[in-house]
């Protein structure tokens, strides 16, 4: 069973986001970049399936050179091979263009199953996985928190939580699964794992290596144009409910929620 895991690097979720002086970007100076948290679940699940069925796990990342570090982390966790799609022309690409580049790279590989995070915790779009599946003409299984590959390795059964219930879905392979928290507990890279990762195959590809036209990528090719990025609407600190005892405070709060906010 050969498995691809798509990887994105995002600002650590503790990062305070500051808007750049152009009003159209964020300040990236002091950002700590980490593997997208949902992608960690993809790496872990791929490793568990490989441990059962054999085969290879290949990490395919896209972005600037710094993404290499997160791919190395995945290799240290136990993945077999890494690939980074990196090209200046990719800078500023939208989801569809990113999916095009990833799909072009994956098409050249041998795969039964593809994992990607259900969304990047930066742009919060959650469409790259589905767009890759469309471009490869395979089924997508979105926001999945349980994966069972059939014994014969030809199909997969997944759990997809939706509002108020969980759908159990069967799909033939190959398929693309987007991962949700709860799927598994990602392992940490061990020290021997980190040492071994340094010797594992790692490829770097440009757009032309993938046979793609740079004009279809980057800021200029965006179909969704950013007009403005702004801080969230300010929320003023409100009233502190005073009182001598917890009961008095609770009574004051209940009164405000009823009389003023009218929510109870």
């Amino acid at each position: 069973m050969n498995i691809i895991v798509c990887l994105k690097q995002v600002p650590d979720t503790e990062t305070q986001i500051k808007v750049g002086s152009d009003g159209k970007s964020i300040v990236t100076d002091d950002i700590k970049w980490v593997m997208n948290p949902y992608d960690e679940h993809g790496v872990e699940e791929a490793l568990r399936i490989k441990e059962k069925f054999g085969g290879e796990v290949t990490i395919v990342g896209l972005g600037p050179k710094r993404v290499t570090e997160s791919i190395r982390t995945a290799l240290a966790m136990g993945a077999d091979k890494g690939m980074l799609i990196s090209d200046e022309a990719l800078e500023g690409s939208d989801s569809l263009a990113v999916a095009k580049a990833l799909a072009a790279a994956i098409k050249e590989l041998d795969y039964d199953l593809i994992f990607s995070g259900q969304r990047g915790v930066d742009d919060d779009m959650g469409v790259v996985g589905a767009n890759i599946a469309e471009l490869l003409d395979i089924p997508q299984l979105s926001v999945i928190d349980k994966v069972e590959v059939a014994e014969d390795g030809k199909s997969v059964k997944v759990n997809r939580p939706i509002e108020g219930s969980t759908l159990v879905i069967e799909s033939p392979l190959p398929a693309l699964i987007t991962t949700q928290k709860g799927l598994n507990e990602p392992r940490y890279a061990s020290l021997p794992g980190i040492m071994k990762a340094k010797k594992k195959p790692f490829d770097e590809k440009t757009l032309s290596d993938l046979g793609l036209d740079a004009a279809e990528f980057g800021e200029g090719a965006r179909k969704v144009k950013v007009l403005e990025i702004k801080p969230p609407p300010a929320r003023e600190a409100g009233k502190i409910v005073e009182g001598e005892t917890p009961q008095e405070k609770a009574a004051g709060l209940a009164k405000l929620l009823h009389d003023e906010a009218k929510v109870i």
Binding site: T13, E14, V19, I26, D94, S95, L96, V121, D122, D124, M125, G126, V127, G129, A130, N131, A133, E134, L135, Q140, S142, V143, R160, I162, E163, G164, S165, T166, L167, V168, I169, K181, G182, K223, V224, K225, V226, L227, E228, I229, K230, P231, P232, R235, A237, G238, K239, I240, P246, K249, A250, L253, A254, K255, L256, L257, H258, A261, V263, I264
Partner: protein, 329 residues
Amino acid sequence: MAQGVWTIAEQRGGEIRKITYEIISEGRRLADALGQDLTVLLLGSNIKEKAAELGNYGADKVLVADDPRLEAYTTDAYASVISELVKADDPAILLLGASAEGKDLSARLSGKLGVGMAQDCTAFAVEDGNLVATRPIYAGKAYARVTFENSWPQMATARPKVMDINEPDTSRSAEVLDAAFSLDDGALKTKVVDVLKDESGKVDLTEADKIVSGGRGMKGPENYKILEDLADLIGATVGASRSAVDAGWRPHSDQVGQTGKVVSPGLYIACGISGAIQHLAGMSTSKVIVAINKDADAPIFQKADYGVVGDLFDVVPALTEEVKKYIES
């Protein structure tokens, strides 16, 4: 030239879901701003009787795709039918709800149609005849205003519970039309083999009107009982912070925040939650925020409309008793 606003209705088990009324109402406002028609696309099996009522909320036309294979949502069937219909009619705007179904469907559709998409938007406007969408990014740590270029239809999804629902006007009805489509069985690869109902009957956090959430200050899973008592009384869903989920006190599906669910209830009561930035990001679009915390310096108080500095183990049960007086009177 692309004309008209289209919205996709969402039904489950033959019942129209609330998000449908939210996006039809917003679609109506956009159609008015453009001076164009609003068409609602309804997919299902034996679903036609639900179509006319959608006119009450602002639909001019309801296009019904009725087929046994469309009874329950599947990505394969819905994306195939909708992309065919969209290509044939060429609408200017295509609007969906950012529900579990809408997010899955819109993502696949944007690929099929080869268009850009704005996911999980909180506001829309028409400027110079073009759709401008506002959407939270970094789970709400920043907001982006975006528009579309050489990308038709202009496609977006709306965050549940954000768009106001129009007062239904029963004198208004929609023209109901049968959609002509082809659906190749060979394109249907996935199959829903089981539906595991959440027996608790609780409303999903993303759709809840009220949320009572507990964090590290809850000290252990057994203590959530006091939050459940309050939640049951006011009709709220119980949520949790990342630290409570990571500690194994609550299931992953309860997590509110940047790596959990992003929520917009009318009332959010944060108990023993200090207000880590990734948590605040996930609930800052709540209408009324209440914080109950021992630590007067906790960052959550900077976002709260009402704060109580005190021990939640005293304040929450007392609040439940006080609220009971209003509800019972």
